[in-house]
Symmetry: C2
Subunit: 275 residues, 2 copies
């Protein structure tokens, strides 16, 4: 089954659970939270969590709260990253960003409240989620600090590992907290590698994509004078590195049989996607 077909089975359940776990309560704060949380998006992190659960013989129902917590933390980070003081982006998932729609104050608070809600709904995952969240904040700070500076490939990899890698890795591990140590180690390794591939492809798409397909402004990295893979090693080498990371991710899954097929499809999708 392709990633698209597999994802189409699970995504409606993720969206329904997000809607239920963050219900409207009449407050403008909750409206702003729901605006960004339910704006669509690929739901990659929840799907990684569910795919990891399948790989180790669990099912979606067991990890749905954790899957939703991951998406809440991801959305919180997007809302804050888009703020004028940060990346200053007006468009996200094809819609005006949260602060454009609701003002900066409510956007900051919506992000804060989504982080809190994530912990509330998945308390068994607190330490995993909290550590990944800290890494993400660190990566965003490093990313902002590096703007306009000369950055080596090593430094770029470090920034990416913090900013997106740690959280994608945690998304995979979150689906298999009850699995054996060997399985968890394999999944963590897979998560690291697809995290790397994901960020390289993100950098590539910022150069080769267009606003309409991406749902956000292409060329944003250039505008902020950010270090990217295409800038440091060129477009062709970037594509080769993404493929190499995908291969390593697939090797990490060799201890699993057919149950890891969704994870394999996700690795392929991450490298082949155009959005």
């Amino acid at each position: 089954m392709s990633f698209e077909a597999w994802g189409a089975v699970h995504t409606p359940h993720v969206n329904a659970a997000l809607d239920q776990l963050c219900p409207a309560d009449g407050s403008p704060l909750r409206e702003a939270m729901r605006y960004s949380l339910l704006a669509g998006g690929k739901r990659l992190r929840p799907l990684l969590c569910i795919a990891a659960a399948e790989a180790v013989g669990s099912d979606r129902g067991q990890v749905l709260p954790a899957a939703c917590a991951l998406e809440m933390i991801h959305t919180f980070s997007l809302i804050h990253d888009d703020l004028p003081a940060m990346d200053d982006d007006d468009l996200r998932r094809g819609l005006p960003t949260c602060h454009v729609k609701y003002g900066e104050a409510l956007a900051i608070l919506a992000g804060d409240a989504l982080q809190a809600l994530a912990f509330e709904i998945a308390p068994t995952h607190t330490v995993l989620l909290a550590r990944a969240c800290s890494q993400m904040c660190l990566g965003q700070a490093e990313d902002l600090e590096a703007e306009g500076k000369v950055v080596t490939l090593e430094q770029l990899q470090r920034i990416h590992a913090h900013k997106t890698g740690a959280f994608l890795r945690a998304s995979v591990v979150a689906g298999a907290l009850d699995a054996s140590v060997a399985q968890q180690a394999a999944l963590a390794h897979y998560g690291e590698k697809i995290g790397m591939a994901f960020q390289i492809v993100d950098d590539i798409l910022d150069v080769t994509g267009d606003d309409a397909t991406l749902g956000k402004p292409a060329g944003s990295d250039l505008k902020h004078d950010k270090a990217t893979y295409p800038k440091l090693v060129g477009l062709d080498e970037s594509k080769r590195l993404a493929r190499a990371a995908e291969q390593e991710a697939l090797v990490a899954l060799e201890i699993f049989g057919e149950s890891a097929e969704p994870l394999r499809e996700i690795a392929r999708y991450i490298v082949e996607r155009n959005t």
Copy 2:
């Protein structure tokens, strides 16, 4: 023992634990987190937590991580509330606010990372802390929304209950998660009442205090055209309401003996403080 004497015993341990749990790591993000976290302050929330633990026969060591988590969440909320898009305050605890010192982007991220760190260090308290944190965000959003509007006493109480009340209540309850249901209910009731007293006195001090004593700009509520107790019911009635809330808090503690003396002293301190 007076609150000051009792607090002087415990505060150094709280400060040392905060320093240890949020150690310097060379990153500017961590520096900004530590700048605000270790800037002093009354440590009222950790002390409430420790006093509640004493009341039910536990000791400081058992609740120190939770006490520190409370202070981290409190500090995160102060950093974000001080931002230009929110209350736009330049001075906090007698020092430049985090965004004045480190810029807005790092201040937003320092707040985010302090919230995450709080959950990481006190995972057994996740649900309690997360709910209180959500209420605090809601209260801050309601407070901003009410600026410049006509607000009734009932609406003001609702805003305060969310913005500061829920978190002070959680600070008390956090110290006694293993206590009996009756003890927890009494402590929750106490926490609600001192939360109310605290906010009334905060409103009073914004009128009667001065910048140097408060460590932040007096008259800030007036500047933002905020509804306050003195504005709605006058200064004398505000003081009477604060005393009444203190009395109710003390009544709630009647099921405890001498072990609750620190909690009683804190109730008195909250109403009599001038900072």
